[in-house]
Structure formats: structure tokens, C-alpha cells
């Protein structure tokens, strides 16, 4: 018998893999040949040692990674291959239907924000700011700086001559320029222009092209967000994602409680044409009224102040973030944030989710709105024409629902209260109240109650504290500040609990020659009421507000 054939026979004999005749042959060989017997023993030992080689436990993350990949792929590919072959047509339809519905919601939500937030908000702000600047000009011309709390000026939307046609197209930047609106170079800031003594004229200028485009996307969970991100990344080619939520959270946390941190105005946002600087404040909801009053007292006498609770802060946008992915694009930066839609979750869970949800996609150039939007439209499978049609429908619906300009103009204005021109940011998505509505409501509420928003806020905070104390005594959960009907105040819109921290932004516009210029980087403590010292300001803090 050939040597190799015999060795193979013995190897297979060892494994009990021989047919009867072969086995008989092997047994005969083993009986007659001592070398064969020794070889069999050596093969047996060899096999035993191989089988005794150490084994590793698979990394625990494998199962999790596989699970995540499966779900991600399921979303990206809509339906896994095996589902096509093994599920009924009805189920497939259900899956596609759900995805289609999600995309429609994405687009309508996105349009909603673009149409309502940016257009209405910008129009109103422009009108207000032009009026205020006219006042400032008049004041300067008369060489009579205002003293004390600034009276709010009547809002006149009719003074704004802004062509908003383009803002109704999702594929375009929010608005366009008119003869009155001159674009600023991206490198210039309002602060720098103020320093160059060009403010009065430049305050009339506004670059809508630099306004953020915001698309809001409904997602059910983080996996959907990841899938959208993955697909968007694919659409956009080699762009890199960097997470910014941690930085945003750190920034927010760095604001001392109940103290104001002054920042220069941020270029490229709605307030650009009025901003002198911004004040960031982080305070407990129950302390907000008091803090607002303190900040107000620290400002120069002719300061125009606007409260922006819905600023680009984590907590200010909490309600929005609870329900949407907000995809906003500003200059060369695309921020995409998401959070779980689950309404009831703890603060810790919410924050943990936030840290996983915010993503910034850095894009190579400033003129990327079209490419980003195009990629997004591709992502959701809606062409530009459909998007435009959808936008027009939404705009029509919004027009029907919005408060007529004349009504707003005719609304009586309060006689006192620097924060009477408080603005809220994008309206809460669940109700369809526009910014104009909110503002009108706020004004009406003020008139009804006969006081400023600050006073009202303080009163509400006091009431809230009292209610909270009562409920605590009664064992009831802490109440929210949103018990009253919506009036445009932060608490009513954002439903923070009394002991919850809120970060908000106060925009301050000051006539150039009267601008107080703080000299240190330290935040101004507003804990001491009615502090008359000049506000502290950090000129170098940020040229551009980061997320």
C-alpha cells in the first residue's frame, strides 16, 4: 500500500470516517504493523493537542455591533434582502409606507421651520430693528440719549422691504437681498463694524444669505438618526463628521449660574443688523425673572434689549430637540442634531442622548447650502419640484393661519418694560402658532396684566415657587411654569420646571457712541440687583458663536 494512502487511512480511522471495508483494512494494518500503530498514536496526540489549543471569548461588542449594523442597514436599504423574499407584500408596503410617511414629515417639518421661523421671524425682526435704529438715529441727532428703561417701539412690518420669494423654496437660502439689504463679507462682524464707527448705516444692512437654513426631521430613535447621518455622509462624499454636543454642553455649563456672560454679536444670525452683543445667562427657571431684571439694570441707559429664550442653546431648544432632528446650516457648517422622541425621560437620559445626538458636519466652502439641501433632498427621495410645491402649500397654509400684519401693528404697546419686545424663537412644533402670533399674544398678555415681561416673569416665578412649595408639601410633583396660557414667555413656551436650569440669550443693541465697553473677561454677576456698574465684556470671546 502506498505510504501516503496508508497515513490518510489512519488519519480517517482516527476520526471514525471510514467505510466498513476501509475500516477493516485499517484495522488489519494496525494489527500487523507496529509502525502504523505508533503513527496512529502520534496522530491521536497531534489531534488532541490541536483540540486543546486555548480558545478566546469573543469580544462582547460583537453581538451589539452586529445588531446595530443590522438595524442601520435595514434603515439604509429600507428592507433587508430576506424580508423581501419572506415577508408578505402587505408588510413590505407597511415598511415603505412608514418610511415614506417619515420623509413627508421631514419635509413638511423642515419647510415649516424655514417658512415660519426664518421668514416670519426675520421679517418681524427687521421691521423692529429698523424702527429701533431710526429711533436711535433720531436720538443721536437730537443729542438726547435715552435714559432709563427703553420704551418699546411700535412694530411696523410695512417698513420692511424684503423680497421673501426665494425663502419659500427649500432648496434656496432663506431669503435674498434687496436694494436695502447689502451682504456682509463673512469675515466681518457687526462688532468690527461698530468699532469702525460705521454702525448707524451698517445697522441697516442685513445679510439674509448668512442666515441659517434649518430643516427639521422627525426621527423615532438614534438609530434612525444614525442611518440618516450615514446616508447624508454618503451623499456628501468625503465630508467628515465631528460631534459638537459635548462642546456645546461644556459651553453651556461654563456659564456661571445666575451670572451674565457677554459675547459679541454673532454674524450670520437673525439679529445681525441690531446686535451689539449678546448676554448668555444660565439660571434656574424660578430665578429667571430676577436675573433678567439684574441684567437690564446693568445695561447702558439707551440699550435696546431682546430676550431670546429659543436661542441656539441646548436647553432653550429642548422642546424642539425632544421631537426633531434639527439640521441647520450656517456658513460652512452643518449641524445635525437629534434626540429621541420619547416624551417621558429623565434629565440625565436626555442629556446622555443629547451627547450622542449632536453632530456637526464641516463642509469645505461657504457656499454649500445648495449642495447640502440637494443631498438632503436626495436622501429623503424628494425632488426639488416636489419640495417647492410642498413649500408653496405650506406657505399658503401658514399665510391663512398667521395673524394679519395690520392686527399686529394695531396692537397697543406697553408703556414700560425693556423686555417688552421679547422674542421667542422658532415656534414649538406641536402647535402652529407663528412668531407673530406669539408676539401678539405676549403683547396682549402684557397689556392685560399691566406690567413688563420682567415683572410678569418675576411674578410667575414667585407664583411657581409658591406652588412648588405647596405641592412639595402635598407630595405632588413639581409644577411647571407653563400653567398659564402661552404668552410668549420662556416658561410658557418651553415648559421648564421651576428648578430646571435655562440658558438663554439676551441680545443688546446700543447706539455706538454710547456703548459701554467692558474691559475684563470676567462675567458680570447679576446676583446683586440693580448693579449700576458697567457691564463686562469679552471682545475676544468669540467672533462666531459656536454650537
Amino acid at each position: 500500500m502506498e505510504r501516503e494512502r496508508m497515513e490518510e487511512l489512519l488519519s480517517a480511522y482516527l476520526d471514525d470516517e471510514l467505510q466498513d471495508t476501509e475500516r477493516a483494512q485499517a484495522e488489519r494494518l494496525l494489527k500487523e504493523n507496529a509502525t502504523a500503530r505508533k503513527l496512529l498514536e502520534e496522530l491521536r496526540l497531534t489531534s488532541a493537542i490541536v483540540s486543546s489549543l486555548p480558545r478566546h471569548t469573543a469580544p462582547e461588542s460583537i453581538a451589539e455591533d452586529v445588531q446595530q449594523q443590522i438595524e442601520r442597514r435595514a434603515l439604509l436599504d429600507h428592507v433587508p434582502q430576506h424580508r423581501v423574499t419572506h415577508t408578505s407584500g402587505r408588510r413590505t408596503l407597511q415598511i415603505f409606507g412608514a418610511i415614506a410617511a417619515m420623509f413627508v414629515i421631514m419635509m413638511t417639518s423642515g419647510w415649516y421651520l424655514v417658512a415660519h421661523s426664518s421668514r416670519e421671524f426675520s421679517r418681524k425682526l427687521l421691521a423692529e430693528n429698523q424702527t429701533k435704529m431710526q429711533e436711535a438715529k433720531d436720538s443721536l441727532a437730537a443729542n438726547k440719549p435715552k435714559t432709563g428703561a427703553t420704551k418699546p417701539s411700535p412694530v411696523s412690518a410695512t417698513t420692511a422691504k424684503v423680497d421673501l420669494k426665494k425663502s419659500q423654496s427649500l432648496g434656496d437660502k432663506v431669503a435674498t437681498k434687496t436694494g436695502e439689504l447689502v451682504a456682509m463679507a463673512p469675515s466681518e462682524t457687526f462688532e468690527s463694524k461698530l468699532r469702525n464707527q460705521m454702525a448707524p448705516e451698517l445697522l441697516q444692512q442685513h445679510s439674509y444669505a448668512q442666515e441659517p437654513v434649518q430643516l427639521q426631521v422627525v426621527v423615532e430613535n438614534e438609530r434612525q438618526r444614525d442611518a440618516l447621518l450615514a446616508k447624508l455622509t454618503t451623499q456628501l462624499g468625503q465630508q467628515q463628521f465631528t460631534r459638537v454636543s459635548d462642546a456645546a454642553a461644556r459651553k453651556e455649563q461654563s456659564i456661571p449660574t445666575n451670572q451674565a456672560v457677554y459675547e459679541p454679536g454673532t454674524p450670520g444670525v437673525n439679529y445681525q443688523n441690531t446686535l451689539n452683543r449678546q448676554v448668555l445667562v444660565r439660571a434656574r427657571a424660578s430665578d429667571v425673572g430676577k436675573v433678567l431684571g439684574d441684567v437690564e439694570a446693568a445695561q447702558p441707559p439707551n440699550a435696546q434689549m431682546m430676550l431670546n429664550v429659543a436661542g441656539n442653546t441646548l436647553e432653550g431648544n429642548q422642546l424642539v430637540k425632544d421631537n426633531f432632528i434639527a439640521l441647520s446650516q450656517t456658513q460652512n457648517e452643518l449641524s445635525l442634531s437629534a434626540s429621541n422622541k420619547t416624551p417621558a425621560r429623565s434629565r440625565a437620559q436626555s442629556e446622555a442622548l443629547e451627547s450622542e445626538s449632536d453632530v456637526t458636519l464641516n463642509l469645505p466652502d461657504d457656499d454649500n447650502a445648495a449642495s447640502v439641501t440637494s443631498a438632503f433632498l436626495q436622501l429623503v427621495g424628494i425632488d426639488q419640484k416636489t419640495s417647492d410645491e410642498l413649500g408653496e402649500k405650506m406657505a399658503e397654509a401658514a399665510k391663512k393661519n398667521s395673524t394679519p400684519t395690520e392686527e399686529r401693528d394695531a396692537a397697543p404697546k406697553p408703556e414700560s418694560g425693556s423686555f417688552a419686545e421679547s422674542n421667542v424663537g422658532p415656534p414649538a412644533p406641536k402647535d402652529e402658532t407663528t412668531v407673530a402670533d406669539a408676539d401678539a399674544n405676549a403683547q396682549a398678555a402684557e397689556v392685560e396684566e399691566g406690567g413688563s415681561l420682567v415683572a410678569n416673569a418675576m411674578k410667575r416665578a414667585d407664583d411657581s415657587r409658591k406652588n412648588e412649595a405647596k405641592e412639595k408639601q402635598a407630595g405632588a410633583p413639581a409644577t411647571t411654569l407653563a400653567a398659564a396660557p402661552r404668552s410668549g414667555e420662556f416658561a410658557d413656551v418651553y415648559q421648564h420646571k421651576a428648578d430646571e436650569f435655562i440658558t438663554f440669550v439676551i441680545d443688546i443693541a446700543v447706539a455706538p457712541q454710547d456703548t459701554a465697553r467692558p474691559t475684563t473677561d470676567k462675567p458680570t454677576s447679576v446676583a446683586s440687583p440693580k448693579s449700576a456698574k458697567p457691564v463686562e465684556h469679552n471682545d475676544n470671546r468669540m467672533e462666531k458663536k459656536q454650537n
Partner: protein, 223 residues
Amino acid sequence: MAERPIPKEPPVEPVSTRPVPLEDLELVEKVRMGDSAAYAVLVRKYQDRVYNTCWRISGNVEDARDLTQDAFLKAYERIGEFRQLSGFYTWVFRIAVNLALSQRRSVARKRTTSLDAMTEASGSQAESLIARSKHAANHADQHAIEAEMQAHVARALQTLDEEHRAVVVLRDMEGLDYAEIAGILDVPAGTVKSRLHRARMAIRQAILPLMGSAGPRTGLKDA
């Protein structure tokens, strides 16, 4: 060793000679209905075995991790093609082994020693081992010798080409029968038998000195 190349994608499902666990079949059915949690159960059940097989074939843990993950993902994608002629683990093994073999072929190959060359070169190695085994016999206990044998076997395993290594791993480490191995590698059972014999002989050669033999052996003389 002119054998059929192993296809990159397994075209048919291996047929198992042993009973297929009912629990697995139920889980697979759930997966087909879209229950990804059921698939997670299957992954956890077999991930260690698949991982170790990938580790032994690929030779490093990083590749093994990726291969294991890829194998389970691919199995999920193709689970519609799983006709339950074999156990789920055999199905996954088939995918994992083929992925591992493809990966080994695609990366810059390590210099592998042919079985013939290994036989020829084993003389000097054997002499070294004899000296060490004598030393070991004098000063170490049996456990130490076994550990040394394991180390030699592990090294010898890595010197085999991937087709032979895969057969040894699947048979001696995973305990699969020839039919299952043939199904996994998509080769005839006779090829499995042949590869296994050659691989074992090569490994035996590497550890022969530790077995107390006087010198290199080449096996039986022709009868």
C-alpha cells in the same frame, strides 16, 4: 495538491449529518419574520466558536473580530437562502471560513512553508527540539511539555496554508465531521480527508521531538 479553489461566496448550503437544534430553527424563523432580537440570540450563542475559528484561520484577533462580525452580518443578509439542511452554526461557519480564507488570500501573504519544504526543513528544527525536550524532560513536568507542545502546534498551524489550516481547525478544534467540513469548504469529502491527513502529518512533524522520538519521521514506509 491540485484541488478546486474555494469559491468566495458559498453557493449552496452544507448538508449536516447531525440533528439541527430545534431552538436554532425557531430563532431563524423569527429572524425571517423580522425579529432582529432573535438574531442577537443566535449571535451570542455562536460568536465564541466563530470567533475562535476565525482567529485560528486568520492568525490574529483583530481580523478575527472583524471576520466574525462580517460573517454574522452576511448570514443575516442571506438568511433567506438558509434552507435548514444544516445547523445555523454550520451555515455561519461556512460564511465565516470563506470570509477568512478570502481575507487571507487578499492580504499580503505571509511566507508560508509548503508541506514538502517543511518536511525537508524539519531536521534542524527537530535537532533543536530534541535538545530542548531533553532539557525539558530533566527539569520540567509533563504540564510544561504539553504547554510547549501547544506552542509548537500553534506555530505549526500558522505555517500551514489556509486550506489545510481550515480543515484542521474545523475538525480538531470545532469537531465537525468530514461532510460538514466538505460542505463548509465546498470541496469533496475525499479532499477533506486528504487535506486533514497532510495537515496532521505536518503538525506531527513539528512536535515529534517532544513526543520522545529520536528524529524526524516521515511516516510509514510504503507497504
